[in-house]
């Protein structure tokens, strides 16, 4: 067995471990067999350990062989021949281990494993215990799939799994209306970002035929790839990707979903919104970083958005009186900085920043209930009350307190017109239907435009 085969097998294990976990939990749902807490925890533990060890093996193998790019091909799944073989329109299922994906896959396994062990005790005897771990497995699979993805399609699948599991975990306590509303809010922002991502994928296929990153970013191993797109195409696709990243990483103007997402159990908040999920957008930008190099307006947009988000997060965090919101906005400030670093064309700094920030913030969020105790210890050490330095100018405080009213403005300028347009369409359609049915107008009660608007708002 050659070292390449061994590496490929190990790489496959990295992906299969979470996939099998998801399958195990899915089967249990089909057979109405609910595994005990112990079984759920053991399975998760085993899967994470397998994946982590295999990833470690790949990493060591890569160091030993000096290979900087290990690809695992799982075949062509669709292929439509174009004019030449290169132009063929095809889907690959391909995973790539390189300098970007290996650290992140390590980070994913370590954090998911640690937080999983935490959650195992934290959620003990909770009625939704098994649901939590099922969604958690789905998240792990999505995260691993997205980080190791070698093609845009694979990345998109992982991306969607992460989004789905996040939204469902935000709405974990579905017996109260608040979490469900906020879960839905998160979901709708994700959908918006996904739409942008999907359009980018389609555009990419249109230009290139394939969704391989190798095509998109040149054939060098990350970060040395060179993209082969024209600068105009790079800007268009890059902007779409930026929107997708902004939605996922809660960059402006979507930022207000991040504190709303703090409705789930503390461990899921920690691993999703402190650590992994929130960095997925920046990961996407890093992955397509050769694209950024092609178009300076694109880089400038990334830097501007990053810095604006960082400033926003840092300011707003200072007026938050509850622990989880404060940490959410503090995370945001760092995610903004990371985005800006990527925009500046840096590669390793943002990567280190992501890894460091994710672990650090996870620990902070897991310890969020300790804040009271920490404050007492702090006062004891200082021997006095902890003094907070007053406040800034009224206008700045107001901005921070109201969180810039981002959601409010989005609602007013995007959602309301959107609903209004659909309301008009609905009214027209009803009129048309009535005409077809030969009824005189207004004979029967039917959903009217405001009704429909309310419904979609509630949805």
């Amino acid at each position: 067995m050659t070292i390449e085969t061994a590496l490929s097998i190990a790489g496959l294990v990295v992906v299969l471990a979470p996939l099998l976990l998801v399958l195990a939990f899915c089967t249990s749902a089909l057979t109405r067999w609910t595994p005990s807490e112990r079984t759920s925890a053991r399975l998760t533990e085993a899967s994470v350990l397998c994946g982590l060890l295999a990833a470690g093996f790949v990493f060591v193998g890569m160091l030993a062989t000096g290979s900087r790019n290990v690809e695992i091909e799982l075949g062509h799944w669709a292929s439509v021949h174009g004019l030449s073989a290169d132009d063929a329109y095809h889907f690959h299922l391909k995973f790539v281990f390189d300098r970007l994906s290996v650290p992140l896959v390590f980070l994913t396994f370590v954090l998911v494993g640690t937080v999983g062990a935490f959650a195992n005790r934290y959620l003990h005897r909770e009625p939704g215990y098994h649901r939590f771990f099922s969604l958690y497995a789905l998240f792990l699979l999505g995260m691993v799939g997205a980080t190791l993805a070698g093609t845009v399609e694979t990345l998109f699948v992982g991306w969607e799994l992460v989004g789905l599991s996040s939204a469902l975990l935000v709405a974990f306590f579905h017996d109260r209306p608040g979490p469900v509303e906020n879960g839905l809010r998160v979901w709708s922002v994700y959908r918006f970002a996904d739409a942008a991502f999907l359009i980018a994928v389609v555009a990419l296929h249109h230009v290139h035929g394939a969704g391989d990153f190798a095509e998109l970013t040149g054939h060098g191993a990350w970060p040395n790839g060179e993209a082969t797109l024209s600068s105009g195409a790079a800007l268009a696709i890059g902007l779409l990707v930026l929107i997708a990243a902004a939605g996922k990483s809660a960059l402006l103007p979507f930022s207000e979903w991040l504190p709303r997402a703090m409705e789930g159990p503390t461990p899921s908040s920690a691993v999703f919104y402190g650590a992994l999920s929130v960095h997925l957008g920046t990961y996407l930008l890093l992955r397509v970083s050769p694209l950024l190099a092609l178009s300076w307006p694109l880089s400038a947009a990334v830097v501007a958005l990053g810095l604006a988000t960082a400033a926003y997060g840092a300011i707003v965090a200072r007026a938050q009186a509850d622990v989880k919101s404060a940490l959410a906005f503090a995370s945001l400030a760092q995610v903004g900085l990371i985005t800006a670093e990527i925009g500046f064309g840096l590669h390793y700094l943002p990567l280190i920043h992501i890894v460091g920030h994710a672990t650090f913030r996870t620990l902070q969020l897991l310890r969020a209930p300790s804040v009271l105790h920490d404050y007492q210890s702090l006062e004891n050490a200082l021997g006095e009350r902890v003094a907070n330095g007053g406040g800034p100018q009224a206008a700045v405080y107001r901005f921070a307190y109201l969180r810039g009213q981002l959601d409010g403005w989005i609602y007013r300028f995007v959602v309301e017109p959107f609903l209004a347009v659909f309301g008009v369409c609905q009214a027209l359609e009803m009129r048309w239907l009535r005409w077809l049915a030969g009824e005189s107008s207004g004979a029967k009660a039917e959903p009217t435009a405001p009704d429909a608007a309310q419904k979609s708002e509630a949805a």
């Binding site: 200072r318 280190i352 460091g356 050490a381 107001r398 409010g408």
Partner: protein, 1007 residues
């Protein structure tokens, strides 16, 4: 704004405005009275209703807060199935409730007692009209009898129907034409009259049930209807818009220092802060669009908050007579935040930022101001009051449905019902109405309590009947807190070393003080909440370590500043950048803390030891007896009084041993905002170690002893006192000032410490049986490691069980209960009636503290368990610490007060049963002198029994008088050790006697 109206009636307006304040302050009593969560004081959740009898109070409160008054009916039924309630309990309870009325016949359908009993025995479903119709039409309800119906009843019902159909139905013209029509139609459905002869059993069963349902519908068609009072004021939609704004405002306003920036102008009050915040905004949300303009108008006019409220009420078109109710409704909309604000305004002068006076009224002004805008936006969304027509249909459908179910269970057939005379029918319906779910739950609940009460009193009388061996001089004595968690600790200690003697005394040991430990920033009260201490006690380093201590304090301060900088910095942009870049370092502590909590805790503690002082002393004594409300220590006289208090109450001086250990307690847990709720209730949610330490020093002082000898309590010179501290979470025991002891006490001390070491291991083992995550077959050492791990585990939401399962409080000599397995459910207070005077002054003083404190703990657990979402604070998992004051659910909810689900999960909600060793006369006198106790006793908020000091007979306090209990001949199971009784068991355990005589058996039984 109705400014003109206001100015035209100035006098009336002034009156009204003052009404507003009075109304609000009156309604504020209905708010939860929990203050900042860092000082958790257990109190009766329904304290505001204490002047009412318990049952009335819980039902009134249930309506007001939309909470449960008792457990759900199916929980009691489960208890019935598991034998936790027996059929005899229910019978007896019904007998008590109904008395002679139980024998009354309801038509020809049996007695009231039988009717009620069968309504209790089986679940009676109720539902919305559509639900009932669905159930009747879509399920097998009309085809098969319920499983609960006995075969005999079923058969009788079918036979009745058959006989009636073939014999009576055609002949008798008793049935009205319309009914005739319906029954004919029903027969047609089943194949027409011609086919009746061919019906098989299943068809007869179905027909019987169809006819029965028809009869039920028919019987209730004309029944008078009861209308539930319309609930709510119809502002739901508007309130829902206002709530998030109020939540954010309250959090910023009340912030005790979490956010680096504080709300501008908050010192000028809530209204001013709100106005200045919103005068210049450009609200994005359309319903608030005109707010800034309105705010500026108000800023110019500068009305008092109460006046503003009055004019806003005008604007909201709330009629004058409904305003008080309306304000109360609005006040209770976010009870957690509003209640905390009220507490911060009235009761938290010690907090970093107590709210200024008038905050509550201003809160209401802001709320109503927002409500005026929200009401406009939500106009038309307010649901119309449900039509009374629909409600009466609903009511009848439910009545018919319940009647149907009762009939099935009782074996009544359709013809039975149809043949009832009108007055019999209305009597039957009235009877069913008189026993709705809530009353059934009350009866169930009382049976639930009765079962435990009977078992407890039976066990006590059996235990008291034992002949106690002649008292030998004990080897050593230990005084613990009365806390229910110390029951098992004491029991195990007595099992291990039968020569020791244990006592229970309120865990502050009479030393009510403000205490500041070495390395602590503030004084904190260590005494019951209703006591306001005047003595300020400081812990200092010993003389030789003073310099080193100063250096360590400086090091701590530097470390603290660095930590503070790091915490704040990590939330800022640049600091966060640094923290983020270096953050990977955090992996190690994180993984370690989660995967190996005990190891991580050990390392942390080791590191902390470098900057903490090892040898300290208390600055306990003051030379000058200064008057005033601050004394820096106790005088010798005061110390003697404190020591005498304990000696006189507990009966400790009966037989002196060489060593007396005074043991305070507390609980250490991590990552737990509710940590204070686990600490010593008698120390006001503090840790009682320093009190024990101070008491021991006082009792060792020769001058104090001299004074005590004069007062008739000579302490032998060979007896020494030491203080100790029991951590009820990791079951560690620490001792104070051992080095100051004379060497004569060494032998007793060594013996005591060895026994305590073993007792804490066994205690941990007994506790571990209640933790599902601990295997039932743990060894002693593994059990101890398990509880230590829990205390250090960041992810542990049940670090210990706290007071959960508490149900009993014994006040009397230990001899009655020694060797009785009480399952950690009893507060144990030592009281020696022989040392009391004729005025019962010792008992009066004791009960004045014990009854309110224990009742407060018990009732808080009761209500948090009964309705955890309403009275408690729900599950801990999404809790989000806010403003350093309390927890919210997730990102923005009401502040949650009460106890979390994880604390009360295993609790059995029972009113606490006090068993006091005294006479009825004493209780009568004490209750007469103490209104708080009187209220609790007269209102049945607690249960009370007394045990006669002379002949150990028991009497139960019921309905305002004492009734002697029949002596039972039940013998309790006797086991060799506690372990033999609890091993392999997770659930609540019955009482048992432990025969500690056979030491070999214990050795053998030990795990």
């Amino acid at each position: 704004m109705t400014q003109s109206a206001v100015s035209s009636e100035p006098v009336a307006h002034e009156d009204d405005a003052s009404n507003v304040v009075a109304w609000l302050e009156h309604a504020a009593h209905l708010l939860p009275s929990q203050g900042p969560i860092s000082v958790f004081v257990h109190h009766n959740t329904l304290h505001a209703f204490e002047q009412l009898p318990f049952d009335q109070a819980v039902q009134t409160a249930a309506d007001l807060y939309d909470c449960h008054p008792y457990l759900p009916e199916q929980d009691y039924r489960t208890a019935l199935r598991h034998g936790r309630i027996t059929a005899q309990d229910l019978e007896a309870e019904l007998f008590d409730v109904l008395g002679d009325r139980g024998d009354q016949l309801i038509g020809r359908l049996g007695t009231r007692h039988e009717l009620w009993l069968s309504m209790l025995g089986h679940p009676l479903r109720e539902g919305a009209e559509a639900e009932i119709h669905w159930f009747v039409e879509e399920t097998e309800a009309l085809y098969r009898f319920r499983d609960e119906a006995s075969a005999a009843d079923k058969q009788r019902s079918i036979d009745d129907t058959r006989r009636w159909l073939v014999r009576d139905y055609r002949d008798e013209a008793k049935v009205s034409p319309e009914l005739h029509l319906r029954i004919d139609r029903l027969i047609d459905q089943f194949g027409g009259p011609g086919s009746i002869g061919d019906w098989d059993d299943a068809r007869w069963e179905a027909f019987t049930l169809h006819l029965l349902w028809l009869a039920c519908e028919e019987s209730t068609a004309a029944a008078p209807c009861e209308h539930a009072a319309a609930n709510g004021v119809g502002w739901e939609a508007a309130d829902a818009l206002v709530d998030p704004v109020m939540i954010r405002l309250c959090a910023a306003y009340l912030d005790q220092g979490y956010a680096p920036w504080t709300l501008p102008n908050r010192d000028q009050g809530l209204l001013a802060a709100f106005l200045s915040l919103h005068a210049e905004t450009r609200p994005a949300e359309s319903w608030l669009r005109r707010l800034p303009q309105r705010v500026r108008e108000i800023q110019q006019q500068q009305p008092a908050a109460a006046e503003l409220i009055w004019s806003l009420l005008d604007e909201l078109h709330v009629p004058v007579e409904r305003r008080e109710a309306f304000l109360q409704h609005e006040l209770l909309r976010l009870p957690g935040w509003t209640g905390t604000l009220w507490q911060m305004e009235t009761n938290a002068e010690w907090a970093p930022w107590p709210a200024p006076a008038g905050s509550l009224v201003e809160l209401m002004a802001v709320r109503l101001l927002l409500l005026t805008f929200a009401a406009k936006a939500a106009d038309g969304e307010t649901p119309a009051q449900s039509a009374s027509e629909r409600r009466s249909r609903q009511d009848r459908a439910n009545l018919a449905f319940v009647l149907f179910q009762v009939a099935e269970i009782r074996g009544w057939s359709g013809p039975d019902l149809l043949q009832l005379a009108p007055e019999e029918l209305s009597m039957l319906l009235a009877e069913i109405r008189a026993f709705p779910s809530r009353v059934r739950r009350r009866v169930y609940h009382q049976a639930y309590e009765r079962h435990y009460r009977n078992a407890a009193l039976g066990a006590l009388s059996a235990a008291a009947a034992r002949t106690s061996p002649p008292a030998a001089a004990p080897a050593y004595q230990i005084v613990c807190c009365i806390d229910d968690r110390e029951e098992s600790f004491r029991r195990h200690l007595e099992e291990i070393d039968p020569d020791c003697e244990t006592f229970g005394y309120a865990g502050f040991f009479g030393v009510a003080m403000y205490y500041k430990g070495l390395g602590e920033a503030h004084f904190r009260p260590l005494c019951p909440v209703n006591v306001k201490p005047v003595h300020y006690i400081v812990e200092e380093p010993v003389y030789t370590e003073a310099d080193a201590s100063r250096r360590r304090a400086a090091a701590r301060r530097r470390l603290g500043r660095a930590a503070h900088g790091l915490t704040l910095g990590s939330r800022s942009m640049i600091g966060g950048l640094v923290a983020g870049l270096l953050g990977a370092v955090a992996t190690l502590p994180m993984v370690l803390r989660v995967v190996a909590p005990r190891l991580a805790e050990g390392l942390l503690r080791g590191a902390g030891r470098l900057v903490r002082d090892q040898r300290t002393r208390l600055h306990l004594e003051t030379i000058a007896d200064t008057d005033g409300d601050r004394k820096d220590g106790y005088t010798v006289d005061e110390m003697a009084a404190i020591v005498e208090g304990l000696l006189r109450t507990t009966g400790l001086p009966g037989c002196w041993s060489p060593l007396v250990i005074i043991c305070g307690h507390g609980s250490s847990s991590v990552n737990n905002p509710h940590a204070a709720a686990y600490d010593c209730g008698a120390c006001g949610g503090g840790r009682g170690g320093p009190n024990a330490r101070a008491f021991a020093r006082m009792a060792n002082d020769p001058r104090v002893r001299a004074l005590l000898a004069e007062r008739g309590f000579p302490i032998p010179p060979t007896t020494v006192f030491i203080g100790a501290y029991h951590n009820t979470c990791d079951d560690s025991v620490a001792y104070y000032d051992l080095d100051a002891l004379q060497s004569e006490a060494d032998a007793a001390l060594t013996r005591a410490r060895e026994a305590i070491e073993e007792a804490r291991r066994r205690d941990a083992h007994e506790r571990a049986r209640r933790f599902e995550s601990a295997a039932l077959n743990l060894s002693l050492d593994r059990a101890l490691r398990h509880v230590e791990g829990r205390a250090a585990d960041l992810s542990q939401v049940r670090s210990e069980c706290g007071h959960a399962t508490n149900a009993l409080c014994l006040v009397g000599r230990r001899a009655w209960s020694r060797g009785l397995f009480l399952d950690r459910r009893a507060f144990l207070t030592s009281y020696d009636p022989l040392l009391d005077d004729d005025d019962y002054s010792v008992l009066a003083k004791l009960l004045a503290a014990v009854i309110p404190v224990c009742a407060g703990i018990n009732l808080e657990y009761y209500f948090s368990r009964i309705d955890n979402a309403g009275y408690g604070c729900g599950t801990k998992l999404p809790h989000n610490l806010t403003s350093l004051l309390g927890v919210m659910d997730g990102a923005g909810s009401d502040l949650r007060t009460g106890l979390p689900w994880q604390m009360v999960e295993i609790h059995e909600p029972l009113r606490i049963l006090f068993v006091i060793e005294t006479t009825p006369q004493a209780i009568a006198k004490i209750a007469a002198d103490n209104p708080a106790i009187d209220r609790l006793l007269a209102g049945d908020w607690v249960q009370l029994a007394i045990i006669d000091p002379a002949d150990a007979s028991l009497q139960l306090f019921r309905g305002g008088k004492f009734e002697p209990l029949p002596t039972t001949n039940d013998t309790l199971p006797t086991v060799a050790s506690s372990y033999a009784w609890y091993r392999g068991q997770r659930d609540h355990l019955d009482f048992a006697l432990i025969d500690a005589g056979d030491a070999a058996a214990i050795e053998e039984a030990a795990p």
